[in-house]
Symmetry: C2
Subunit: 129 residues, 2 copies
């Protein structure tokens, strides 16, 4: 892996993921489970938990890189647009830098919806173990 | 809510949360599921997925604040120490600032293990909707 390397993956926010996330973490904030309240705040429907996208990030880092010998050092995400149930999100990541002295890689990433554009973006650093 | 307000919560990384996270997001990286490999990398046992802590953060923001009228703008987390199955983590958050013009609050947070100390820390910004 080296600076400039690009990666792509497609994720979908399925009913199983949405309900599973709620069952595990118990975040039943009305914005996520009450369509009327979500619409009263200007959204088309219930807004999916932003941290579902961080779960996708976990999968990408743990399973989709050329090596499995990785560990996350830090990660940041900015939520720009809502994500809704059933959304298919194109995930794009790029290696920004390789810190050879500490064997760490820095990535930028974004989740893109075909109509709404970038719904979230951020960066993370992983160590090669 | 105002600058300086502090919040506490206790979370535990249970078997249900660990297995549930794996079932939902399919991150079966050896570090998380293979004790021998985790130990060969210097850890006491399988390292829990860092994004389980972000799921706890989702619960805190969605369910534990004085208002439910919140939405996450951005969040960052730095992983300092491993988290293991069964760990009980003390979560502490504090309001760093209130941006009245955009109705947004900035928090810092940390997850603390009674022996290992701070296992993760970070910050997030939420909007009051």
């Amino acid at each position: 892996m080296q600076k400039g390397d690009k990666f792509n993956h497609t994720f979908q926010v399925t009913e199983d993921i949405y309900q599973g996330f709620i069952n595990i973490f118990n975040d039943r904030n009305p914005l996520h489970i009450d369509t009327i309240i979500a619409q009263s705040k200007g959204f088309a429907s219930c807004v999916m938990h932003g941290n579902i996208l961080n779960g996708f990030l976990s999968y990408f880092i743990g399973e989709c890189l050329p090596t499995k010998d990785v560990i996350i050092h830090r990660q940041s995400i900015l939520f720009k647009k809502p994500t809704y149930l059933g959304d298919i999100l194109e995930f794009k990541a790029e290696i920004l830098d390789f810190y050879e002295s500490v064997n760490a890689l820095e990535f930028s990433f974004k989740f893109i919806h075909h109509e709404r554009g970038i719904v979230a973006k951020g960066d993370f650093q992983i160590g090669i173990t």
